[in-house]
C-alpha cells in the first residue's frame, strides 16, 4: 500500500482563514476550505470525496502546516485538533472501505 502524506496548509487568503488541502499536486488550489464562510461545509464535502478516492489506493496521512506569518492561535489550535480527528477517522474506515470497494 502506498504511503501518502498530504499537506494541509492553514493560511489567509484575502481576509479569510482557509485550510488548503493539497490533494492533487497538479491542482494545488482545488481543495480550499474557507473557515469563515457558510460554504465551508460544502467545501469540506468536496475534500471528503477526494480523500475517499485516495484512501482506496493509499495509506493517507494529513499533515497540518501553518503558513509563514500566520498568527491566529484559535484557528491554529482548532485545526490541529480537527486534523488529528480527521486522521483518526481516516484510519478507522480505510480498511473497511478498501475491502468493500474491492
Amino acid at each position: 500500500m502506498n504511503q501518502k502524506q498530504i499537506e494541509v496548509l492553514l493560511t489567509v487568503v484575502g481576509e479569510s482563514d482557509v485550510l488548503n488541502f493539497i490533494l492533487d499536486q497538479e491542482k494545488p488550489d482545488e481543495y480550499v476550505v474557507n473557515l469563515n464562510s457558510d460554504t465551508s461545509q460544502s467545501e469540506l464535502k468536496k475534500v471528503f470525496s477526494k480523500l475517499l478516492e485516495l484512501i482506496i489506493e493509499n495509506d493517507v496521512k494529513l499533515v497540518l502546516k501553518i503558513a509563514e506569518g500566520y498568527s491566529k492561535v484559535l484557528y491554529m489550535d482548532v485545526c490541529t485538533v480537527y486534523i488529528d480527528d480527521l486522521n483518526r477517522e481516516i484510519s478507522s474506515v480505510a480498511e473497511s472501505v478498501r475491502k468493500d470497494v474491492s
Binding site: S40, K45, K50, L52, V81, V93, S96, V101
Partner: protein, 707 residues
C-alpha cells in the same frame, strides 16, 4: 389391418428360392412378428391341403389363412404371366382336389394354363384373381381384357404391382391394387411390405362383399369404430346432423360452402363433450406462428440466471441520503467555550470521538444463516424423521443440529452485541454532551468530523450500485422446446431466451419501455462514476426520479424475455410462410388429444411433403382411434387417407346441399333426401382433381414416361 395375399411356403419350381420352404414353428413366429391378419398361401402350381390345414390351425388365434395358388398363364400369341387365385377357405378341400386334378403329373416348371381354363375349373370355389400387373411376369393389356371378359366380375379381380406402397383396398380410379410379400426368404418375412386394409374384414365373403361395395357389409365394418352424432353449423341458422368417426373425416367442396364453419362448429361440439381437441387453421398460420413466438407465457424469473431481484438494493437507493461533514464552526464554537466551565473541562467524556458504526465483517452472513436455520427448524418438524432413520441416528442428527443452531445463534449474538454496543456508546456520548452543554454554557467537542460516516455511506452506495450493474453482465439463459422438423434444416426448436438488458435487446422483450430502462441503466453507471465526486447527489437524484417514475422496484423489469426459432446447432432461423405451417401442423399433430381439427392444412405446403409426411401422421392418428376432421382441397389428404366419413358441400342455384358418404361404397348421399346420391369417386375427381378428364390426361402423361 395387414394382409398378405401372395405368400409362399414351399420351393416348388426350380427357380424358387430354397428359403421359401418354411417350417411350422418359423411360420407361426414370423406371422406373429409381422402382425399380419390374413395370409393366402399361394405356392407355384401347387396347393398342399395338408400343410394348409396344419398351418391354419397353428395360427388360428391371430391370423386367418386362405387357400391359394400361383399359376403360369399362357394365352395364344401372348407372353406368359402369373395369376394368383385365392379361394374361399370354406372350399379348401374342393380347391385342393381341383388343383390336384389340374397339376398332378405335370412338369410344374413349365406347365401353363389359359385364363379360361382356370376360370372354368376354379371359379366354383368362390375365388378372387390377382394377376401380376406391371410386375414381371406381368399381364398384358390385351390379356387383362381377356381375363375381365372371362371372369365377368371386376370386383373379383385385383392387381399386384411391383412397387411397394402402403395401399388401401378399393382405392379410387377403378384399380383395386393388392400387394403381397411374395416371400423369397422367410428369415426376413416381417420386413416385407404388406397391404393395409382400411376396413377390418373377418371372412373371405366379407372381403368380396366389400370389394363389391356392398353397403350393409361396409356399414357393418365402419361401425366397428366409435362414432359420434354431432350437430354442425355452416351458418348460424343451419344445423346439420353428422356422424363423425374416431378415424379420418373429410369435409370438401367448392369455396364458400361453409366448410370452415362446419369444422369450427364440430370443434366446439367436441369440446362440449369434454374431449381434448387441437385445431389448426391453414389461413391463420402466420398469425398463429406469431403467437407461438410471443413471450406472454414467459415469467420474469431472475433465478434462472442465478440472480436475486435486488429489491433491497433499489429500496436502499431510494432512501439513500448523503452525509454532510461536521461544520468547521462547531469546532470553533467548542474551542471558544471550552474554558467557560471548569467542571465541564474535567468531563473528558465530552471530548470523546464517535466510534465508527460499522457492522462486524460476518454480520450479514451470520444473520442470513440464522434465518436459514429458523426455516429449517420450521420444516424439520414437518418430516417424520423416524421413517428414514433409526433411533440412534435420529438422536445423533438432533444433537448435531442443536449444536449447529447454538453456534450460529452465538456468533450472531456476538455480532449484534458488537454492533449495538457501538451504537449505544455513540448514543450515550451524544446525550451526555448535550446535557453537559445545557448545564454549562459550553459547546462540547464535535464527536466526529463526519468523514467516517460519509465514507461508509458512499462505499455502501457503491456496493449497491455495483451489485445491480453486475447483474447486467450475467449471460443469458436459454430453454429449448422441440417444435418440429424441416427438410434439409433438421430439427427445429423454439428457444426461450432470458437475458438482462443489453445493447442487443429489443423493445418487445420488455413490458416497460426499453428506452426508459436503458436510461436507468445508463444513470446507474453515471452514479457509480460519481461516487467519489462532487456531482453525486445530482446524479443520484435523477436516478431516484427515473426509478420512481417507472415504478422500478427490482431487477425484474430489466429481464428481457423472448423466443426465437433455432436449428439443432442453436442458429437462429426464419422459417418461410410454408415452413411455419409445417412446423405448426407437426406440433399440433404431435400433441396428445382426443380430436384434431385441421382447416386447409395443405396451404403453403408441397404435395410431396403432404403425402410423405402429413398423410402418414393422419393415418397413424386414425389407427389410434383419434377423431380427425379435415376441411381440405387436397386430393392426397381427402382421398388417400380413405376416410371413414366424407362430407361434401355443394352450392348450386343458390341452394346449399350436404352429402355424406365414404370411398368404400363410393356413395355420397344427400342428408336431406335419400333418393339424391352421387358417386364419391366422381365428386372427388371433379372437386379435388379438376375433373375426370383432367385427371386421366395427367395420368396418361405420367404413364407415357419411358422406364
Amino acid at each position: 389391418m395387414k394382409i398378405d395375399l401372395h405368400c409362399h411356403t414351399k420351393k416348388v419350381k426350380k427357380g424358387d428360392n430354397e428359403k421359401r420352404n418354411v417350417s411350422l414353428e418359423v411360420f407361426k413366429q414370423k406371422i406373429s412378428d409381422a402382425d399380419v391378419k390374413i395370409v393366402a398361401i399361394t405356392n407355384h402350381n401347387l396347393f398342399d391341403l395338408e400343410q394348409y390345414n396344419i398351418y391354419s390351425e397353428a395360427v388360428s388365434d391371430y391370423c386367418k389363412l386362405w387357400p391359394g395358388i400361383e399359376i403360369d398363364i399362357q394365352e395364344e400369341n401372348s407372353s406368359r404371366y402369373h395369376l394368383i387365385v385365392i379361394a374361399n377357405p370354406e372350399n379348401a378341400e374342393e380347391f385342393s382336389s381341383i388343383t390336384k386334378e389340374l397339376f398332378d403329373g405335370q412338369d410344374l416348371d413349365t406347365y401353363t394354363l389359359n385364363c379360361k381354363e382356370v376360370y372354368e375349373k376354379l371359379n366354383a370355389c368362390d375365388v378372387i384373381y390377382i394377376p401380376h400387373y406391371h410386375k414381371k411376369p406381368g399381364i398384358s393389356e390385351s390379356d387383362l381384357i381377356k381375363l375381365k371378359t372371362v371372369v365377368n366380375d371386376d370386383s373379383r379381380i385385383f392387381y399386384e404391382p411391383s412397387d411397394h406402397r402402403s395401399l388401401g383396398v378399393f382405392a379410387n380410379y377403378n384399380y383395386s391394387v393388392m400387394i403381397g410379400s411374395d416371400v423369397q426368404d422367410w428369415s426376413k418375412y416381417e420386413k416385407s411390405t404388406f397391404a393395409d386394409l382400411r376396413l377390418p374384414v373377418e371372412t373371405f365373403s366379407q372381403f368380396c362383399m366389400m370389394s363389391k361395395r356392398d353397403n350393409v357389409v361396409i356399414n357393418t365394418l365402419l361401425n366397428k369404430k366409435v362414432s359420434y352424432q354431432m350437430i354442425a353449423s355452416p351458418h348460424s341458422s343451419v344445423k346439420l346432423n353428422l356422424k363423425i368417426y374416431e378415424d379420418v373425416n373429410i369435409i370438401f367442396g367448392q369455396k364458400g360452402t361453409g366448410k370452415s364453419e362446419i369444422l369450427n362448429s364440430l370443434y366446439t361440439s367436441m369440446l362440449a363433450k369434454g374431449k381434448s381437441c387441437e385445431k389448426y387453421i391453414g389461413t391463420e398460420k402466420d398469425y398463429e406462428f406469431k403467437k407461438v413466438l410471443k413471450n406472454t407465457d414467459m415469467e420474469a424469473n431472475l433465478s434462472l440466471l442465478g440472480l436475486e431481484d435486488c429489491a433491497n438494493d433499489f429500496k436502499a437507493i431510494s432512501m439513500w441520503t448523503d452525509t454532510n461533514p461536521t461544520q468547521f464552526s462547531n469546532y470553533i464554537n467548542w474551542y471558544e467555550t471550552k474554558d467557560n466551565n471548569r467542571n465541564k473541562r474535567r468531563m473528558k467524556i465530552t471530548e470523546a470521538s464517535k466510534l465508527i458504526e460499522n457492522k462486524p465483517k460476518q454480520y450479514d452472513v451470520h444473520e442470513k444463516d440464522k434465518k436459514t436455520i429458523k426455516q429449517i427448524l420450521k420444516h424439520f418438524s414437518d418430516i417424520d424423521i423416524s421413517m428414514y432413520l433409526n433411533a440412534e441416528k435420529y438422536e445423533q442428527l438432533l444433537l448435531l443440529f442443536k449444536e449447529l443452531t447454538d453456534k450460529v445463534f452465538e456468533e450472531f449474538k456476538n455480532d449484534v452485541i458488537s454492533k449495538c454496543s457501538c451504537e449505544l456508546t455513540n448514543y450515550s456520548i451524544e446525550n451526555i454532551k448535550n446535557i453537559a452543554d445545557k448545564n454549562s454554557n459550553t459547546i462540547s467537542k464535535p464527536s466526529s468530523t463526519g468523514f467516517g460516516e460519509f465514507a461508509l455511506k458512499r462505499v455502501k452506495l457503491c456496493k449497491i450500485i455495483k451489485n445491480i450493474i453486475n447483474a447486467f453482465l450475467v449471460g443469458s439463459f436459454n430453454e429449448r422446446e422441440y417444435i418440429g422438423e424441416l427438410e434439409e434444416k433438421g430439427k427445429i426448436y423454439i428457444n426461450k431466451r432470458y437475458r438482462m438488458l443489453c445493447d442487443e435487446s429489443r423493445t418487445e422483450e420488455f413490458s416497460k419501455g426499453i428506452q426508459k430502462l436503458k436510461q436507468i441503466k445508463k444513470q446507474l453507471y453515471l452514479v457509480l462514476n460519481h461516487i467519489y465526486r462532487d456531482g453525486l447527489n445530482d446524479c443520484l437524484s435523477e436516478l431516484k426520479t427515473m426509478i420512481d417514475e417507472e415504478s422500478v422496484e427490482n431487477l425484474k423489469p430489466f429481464l428481457g424475455l423472448s423466443k426465437q426459432v433455432v436449428t439443432e446447432d442453436g442458429q437462429e432461423y426464419s422459417p418461410s410462410n410454408g415452413e411455419k405451417g409445417i412446423l405448426l401442423l407437426q406440433n399440433i399433430l404431435n400433441k396428445e388429444a382426443d380430436a384434431y381439427f385441421l382447416d386447409e392444412p395443405e396451404l403453403g405446403m408441397g404435395n410431396s411433403y403432404i403425402d410423405q409426411n402429413i398423410r402418414p401422421i393422419i393415418s397413424g392418428l386414425a389407427k389410434r382411434r383419434k377423431v380427425v376432421v379435415i376441411a381440405t382441397h387436397n386430393a392426397n389428404i381427402a382421398v388417400r387417407t380413405l376416410p371413414y366419413m366424407t362430407i361434401f358441400r355443394e352450392h348450386k342455384n343458390g341452394i346449399y346441399t350436404t352429402y355424406v358418404g365414404n370411398p368404400f361404397n363410393d356413395i355420397l348421399q344427400n342428408i336431406d333426401d335419400e333418393n339424391d346420391y352421387r358417386s364419391w369417386t366422381t365428386e372427388s375427381l371433379h372437386t379435388l382433381e379438376g375433373g375426370e378428364e383432367a385427371f386421366y390426361e395427367r395420368k396418361n402423361i405420367y404413364e407415357s414416361k419411358t422406364d
